[in-house]
């Protein structure tokens, strides 16, 4: 049986997420899902550059920022899925890793709506910037909800356990990031003394 098409995937994750995440849970749609993620990341990166050009300057402009967002998005997806998969296994759940990657990639689709919020930010002044911030926060919550759904459908588990897997993974990611930071600082510090 063929996996869902590109249009079906993008529209499906927004209009009937549970069905779509269940459909991609077998992992056969990983390729198209990753393409969707790359497009979403590019749009998100470009939107950020439009709303805050000084941030874009830090990495050399909007195009590098969009590319960095794509690369960073892919890396974060791998880390998030890897840790989420490990945590789920520890909690006794079983699922398809490729399916999890597909689901978590598609969970980012609502971020494309950052573009209209960025437009409000640059056209309506302070009120628009406030709307932009509120919209971005709402979209982040939407992405989190879809990520939890992706975990639930991939591991065929309860919503409560999916929430537990999501937040345990998040804590582990933060812990790992701090550990890497401490390691880097620990390696560099002696060089200054």
């Amino acid at each position: 049986m063929m996996g869902p098409g590109f249009a079906e995937m993008v529209v499906g994750i927004l209009t009937r997420p549970r069905d779509m995440l269940r459909q991609v849970g077998d992992g056969r749609s990983l390729g198209p899902a990753l393409i969707v993620l790359a497009m979403v990341a590019a749009i998100t990166g470009w939107s950020s550059a439009v709303a805050a050009p000084h941030n874009a300057d830090l990495v050399g402009g909007p195009a590098p920022l969009a590319l960095a967002t794509i690369a960073g998005g892919g890396f974060l997806l791998l880390v998030q899925a890897g840790i989420g998969y490990g945590v789920a296994r520890l909690l006794g759940s079983r699922g398809n890793f490729r399916g999890l990657l597909s689901g978590l990639a598609l969970a980012n689709v609502p971020s494309v709506f950052q573009a209209p919020f960025a437009l409000l930010g640059v056209t309506l002044g302070p009120a628009g910037m406030a709307l932009n911030a509120l919209g971005t926060a709402a979209l982040s919550i939407w992405v989190i909800v879809l990520s939890v759904l992706a975990l639930r459908e991939t591991f065929v588990t309860s919503t409560g356990r999916a929430v537990l897997i999501y937040f345990l993974s998040l804590i582990l990611v933060l812990f790992l990031a701090l550990a890497v930071l401490a390691l880097v600082v620990g390696l560099l510090l002696p060089a200054f003394f």
Binding site: A7, I43, P53, G61, P116, A118
Partner: protein, 304 residues
């Protein structure tokens, strides 16, 4: 087209349309791709090399050349703002930097910070416009030079030093000043002073006599300097960016800092032997030894 494709098309139009409109409303495209007004910060004394002792020597011709080359190589940079904080420094290095600024193919605006005096002013006059705060310290159109005679020190240390020269005035710097040698050095300084006055008159398009009248070495506030024609506008960095944008015909100025790549930490270890020598000198001979070394580095070195 089925329902999914229609919805995808609608989402695409909304998202892509928003991105395009955001870019149009935000600023011009060149600014969106990157800043269009390059901002270069020049801080410290002016000297040929970073090891000189003239106020920390943060401004060197080599560094300015590299920074301006970075700006010139970027076609999106329409104009450059030089944010300067400098008490001046060595003469030839200032002239080298002045030439680089004068020959830069795009508009250059100087934004004077706290103090831009003497050589700092010298390099500034080669810019197309100068912006300073009312309280900026500037001016000091003059030349200074130290002559140090070490005979007394040698005597105290029991060192008998004799200077042999070929050429009537070769040993001017090694002997106590005579009326004749003093006159030679004064003429030398006067010629440099004339060069300074000439540069200010040409750079600021001022009457030579008018500049000569104010070239007494005195300091001016930014406000006084504007009245004298040494400064165009009173304001800060933002005003300088606006001025640069106006000169370059840029409707939406978007500043971007132009900096040299950071020096890797292991390259800074190259300064270690010099620092060690300073520490050893101070430990063995006291702080006077370091002071003497610094004075000797300035010996017969004209500065502005």
């Amino acid at each position: 087209m089925n329902r999914n494709r229609w919805l995808l098309l609608a989402i695409g139009v909304l998202v892509i349309g928003s991105l395009i409109l955001s870019a149009v409303f935000a600023r011009d495209w060149r600014a969106l791709v990157r800043g269009n007004i390059g901002v270069i910060t020049l801080t410290g004394g002016i000297a040929e090399g970073p090891a000189a002792v003239l106020g920390g020597a943060g401004i060197t011709p080599a560094a300015v050349r590299r920074l301006l080359a970075l700006a010139e190589a970027d076609p999106r940079i329409a104009a450059v703002v030089l944010r300067i904080e400098s008490p001046g420094g060595s003469v030839a290095a200032s002239q080298e930097i002045g030439g680089l600024i004068r020959d830069f193919p795009r508009p250059v605006v100087v934004s004077m910070a706290d103090g831009v005096a003497s050589g700092g002013l010298y390099i500034s006059v080669f810019a197309d416009r100068i912006v300073a705060q009312p309280g900026t310290i500037t001016g000091s159109i003059g030349v200074i030079m130290s002559h140090i005679y070490l005979g007394g020190l040698y005597e105290r240390l029991g060192i008998q030093a004799e200077v042999l020269t070929a050429g009537e005035h070769k040993g001017v710097g090694m002997e106590p000043l005579t009326p004749e040698s003093r006159q030679i050095l004064q003429e030398f300084l006067d010629d440099l002073h004339r060069q300074f006055i000439q540069a200010v008159a040409e750079g600021r398009r001022l009457d030579l006599e008018r500049v000569r009248a104010i070239a007494t070495g005195e300091l001016f506030t930014g406000q006084q300097a504007q009245a004298l024609g040494l400064v165009d506008r009173l304001g800060g960095l933002d005003l300088a960016i606006e001025e640069a944008a106006e000169l370059a015909g840029v409707a939406y100025p978007e500043p971007v800092d132009i900096t040299l790549p950071a020096v890797p930490w292991w390259q800074t270890l190259g300064h270690f032997p010099s620092l060690l020598l300073d520490r050893v000198s101070v430990a063995l001979l006291g702080k006077d030894a370091l002071l003497l070394r610094q004075q000797l580095e300035l010996h017969l070195l004209p500065r502005w």
